[in-house]
Symmetry: C2
Subunit: 167 residues, 2 copies
DNA sequence: ACAAACTTTCAATAATTACTGAAAGTTTAG
DNA sequence: CTAAACTTTCAGTAATTATTGAAAGTTTGT
């Protein structure tokens, strides 16, 4: 496997993994491209490499900036805008975890709290609903707490010591 | 909010959260329905509650069984099949984590390993590709390890002690 | 062996989601 | 102020994914 094959394979695999962290294919591919690039890329560069339209590129770059993992770099004397991504995988993981929590987990926690707080009318059905949504609420909240702890931690959170601790 | 409103809200919220753990809406909703039910439900019951077709119900129940979180219960003397889901949230979390790892993370780790193993021809581009995909490989593998440790652990893995440990 | 009761399959269709490309908008240089 | 160089927006379209429903398949009781 040569450089170009490897690059292609990486970009497309990372793209299809997008679903895992809740973003679309093009978005993930753009990020992947920037992630292995040795220099900032222009919109033109990205369009050409990924064979996607200007509009698509623009919109997905915007989203990546909203997520906080891609930055616009203005090069003095150049009209074009250039883009770079966070290069540190740990930092990347932190940002993604934090964003997903905010966008998806928090709203669910809110609903679980509401639902589990309905009045207990004594029927088995109501009791079960309350019990199960409460359990889900606790689990989700604790998991979310973990994510936040990890996300705000300055030192490496994925370390051998965590693994060791977990037996 | 009364029982029926709460039930509806829970089922639809849990359904839309499906994406978070990589399954579709109907599948998540069926699981949600079983999760708060006090007794096993038949296909008929599910179709009626969720207003979805027989085919859809059948296919999604099958998938839930493939994931290992829904079980077919045959009630003696009854022709119909009845379904139940894992009721313990911790166990549910374990199973889901394990399945997602197997289905999605493992294949990516494999590709990252391949890509990061290309021959270093000395160019900056190749070096960057190797460096970055290696970093991603390590991160992904360690995260996956964590998931597995958690998934095979018999005692509660999401506990206050883990949180405490993490500062 | 037959028929009733049920489940599964799958081609057709609907719903959702992503992508394009050209027009409108913005910024900068002169 | 104007034009060139660039970016953003968004209506239309394409691609993907989910859903239906009816036919085919299976199981069970008599």
């Amino acid at each position: 496997m040569n450089y170009n094959e490897a690059k292609l394979k990486f970009v497309s695999t990372w793209g299809s993994l997008g679903t895992l962290w809740g973003i679309n294919k093009a978005m993930a591919q753009i990020q992947a491209l920037l992630f292995i690039s040795t220099k900032p890329l222009s919109m033109e560069d990205i369009m050409e490499e990924l064979k996607i339209s200007r509009g698509n590129t623009s919109m997905n770059l915007r989203q990546l900036m909203d997520w906080g993992i891609v930055t616009k770099n203005i090069i003095p004397g150049e009209r074009k805008e250039y883009f770079t991504t966070e290069k540190d995988v740990q930092e990347l993981a932190r940002v993604i975890a934090k964003e997903r929590s905010r966008r998806e987990i928090q709203p669910v926690i809110k609903v679980l709290k509401e639902v589990s707080a309905i009045e207990d009318d004594g029927t088995a059905e109501t009791r079960e609903l309350i019990k199960q949504t409460k359990a889900l609420h606790d689990l989700t909240e604790t998991a979310d707490d973990m994510i936040h702890k990890m996300a705000t931690q300055k030192q490496n959170w994925i370390t051998k010591s965590v693994l060791k601790f977990m037996k």
